[in-house]
């Protein structure tokens, strides 16, 4: 059974993510200290809420996670956890992200034509190819709830649209991120989690 470290930094509850990982047959543990993540075959950074909440992921946590990535272990960021993989966010300018992906997060809806937060089911547009979206059909819908987005870069593998196009899924080698909630996106979401576990 694959051991996944689920990082608990106090941003929201982890019950749903744990439940979804259990449903696809992965074993989950929540390391209490950075050094506890050593046995992990994969690391997931979940999260909802404000970017400032990631502040509790200090340098020691960052180093522990970076070390895992250095060993080729896969890392998945979900929602706020995905935003944290980038350099930072306009939501909390003083708060540094992990910086394994290039760019800075910004607020959706600058044009003021849509409601923000973006809450609900929205479709994914992408060219198949990236392993994290393997087996998923372009146009499939997933559940989002967020106000900020990560920049569209060469690491973007799927996009969605809410007043503007934004990055819904990113992947760079063993590092992946989803802006939506796979644990709340029915069968499509469970498939993304299975794809991630397959990277281990």
């Amino acid at each position: 059974m694959t051991m996944i470290a689920l990082i608990d930094y106090g941003a929201g509850n982890l019950t749903s993510v744990k439940k979804a990982l259990a449903a696809i047959g992965a074993e989950v543990f929540t390391p209490r200290r950075p050094e506890d993540i050593a046995p992990a075959q994969g690391v997931i950074v979940p999260g909802v809420g404000h970017f400032g909440a990631t502040n509790s992921l200090d340098q020691r946590w960052m180093d522990a996670i970076l070390e895992r990535i250095g060993e080729g272990r896969p890392l998945l960021g979900i929602c706020l956890g995905m935003q944290w993989l980038f350099e930072g966010s306009d939501e909390a300018p003083d708060c540094r992200g992990l910086g394994v992906l290039g760019g800075r997060c910004y607020r959706l809806g600058a044009a003021g034509t849509v409601k923000v937060p973006h809450v609900g089911w929205n479709s994914l547009t992408f060219q198949p190819g990236a392993s994290i979206v393997d087996g998923i059909t372009p146009g499939a819908q997933v559940y989002f709830t967020h106000s900020y987005v990560v920049p569209i870069t060469s690491d973007t593998v799927a996009m969605s649209n809410h007043g503007e196009a934004f990055a819904a899924v990113v992947q760079h080698g063993q590092v992946a991120g989803v802006q939506f909630h796979p644990e709340k996106s029915g069968d499509v979401g469970l498939r993304v989690l299975r794809n991630f576990v397959a990277l281990t």
Partner: protein
């Protein structure tokens, strides 16, 4: 494009789903987990569990019911009824709720909205607003006005629904669950005038509730009512329509839905 959400509401009392008319005359509609499974298989976008007598009986929403429903569902689940404190919200969220819905407690002390939003994020905080149309003589020149009620529709609180929704948003609410007491359980259609007024006044999503009776009512509330989501109970419980048939109908009327 963002889909319009279809939400099934499970009004729960003593562990059983019940449904009434105008918040009264409750009758049983089945087991919560069983109904949740059925709706999920049919493609429901979200579920709400409301412990409808929790506030009146001054106790917490039933964690066992939440747990049973959350166990096998991988779609968003909101829980309301009897959430009066941060500890009540924590109990619901720990049992598997993704969002909590506050109503009476927020009217009593609106600071609870901010407390919960600070702890769990705005996306986890739904403010439920139960409203009744005011008599014409009390309405403004611009249109009807709607008064807010607390305690499962039993107590008028002397607040205007549009103003209260605006305040809830400014205090950190992530969504408004807006129920027309006049239409609840009547199957006469959603109160589109109320829904549109609130939806235009806030920038957070508004879930319309109360009055769904036909497929056409859902088309109306997404067009005339400017709703972001529509919630229904009886129409699904008694299998008058399936979630799938409803979505096909909305799709045929060019309303974006998840299919």
């Amino acid at each position: 494009m963002l889909s319009k959400r279809i939400i099934a509401c499970l009004d729960v009392r003593d562990g059983q789903v019940v449904k009434g008319v105008n918040f009264e005359d409750l009758r049983s509609a089945g087991d919560p987990a069983e109904l949740a499974r059925r709706y999920n298989a049919e493609g429901i976008d979200e579920l709400v569990i409301l412990d409808i007598t929790a506030t009146l009986e001054a106790r917490r929403a039933l964690p066992a019911t939440i747990r049973a429903v959350a166990r096998e569902l991988f779609i968003p689940l909101a829980v309301g009824g009897g959430i009066r404190s941060e500890a009540d919200a924590a109990a619901a969220i720990d049992a598997g709720a993704d969002k909590v819905s506050v109503n009476t407690a927020a009217l009593t002390d609106p600071r609870i909205i901010t407390t919960l939003a600070d702890r769990y994020g705005s996306q986890a905080v739904v403010v439920a607003v139960d409203a009744k149309r005011m008599p014409p003589e009390e309405s403004a020149a611009g249109g009807a006005r709607f008064a807010v009620y607390a305690r499962s529709g039993q107590t008028a609180v002397n607040r205007d629904a549009v103003e209260w929704a605006r305040e809830a948003e400014s205090r950190g609410a992530g969504e408004i669950l807006l129920t027309s007491i006049d239409r609840d359980g009547t199957k006469r259609g959603f109160e589109c005038e109320l829904t549109a007024a609130v939806s235009r006044a806030v920038s957070i999503p508004v879930i319309a509730s109360g009055g769904a009776g036909t497929l056409g009512h859902f088309v109306e509330v997404f067009t005339d009512g400017c709703a972001d989501a529509a919630l229904a109970a009886s129409i699904f419980h008694y299998a008058e329509t399936s979630v799938r048939a409803l979505k096909e109908h909305l799709h045929a009327h060019h309303i974006p839905v998840r299919r």
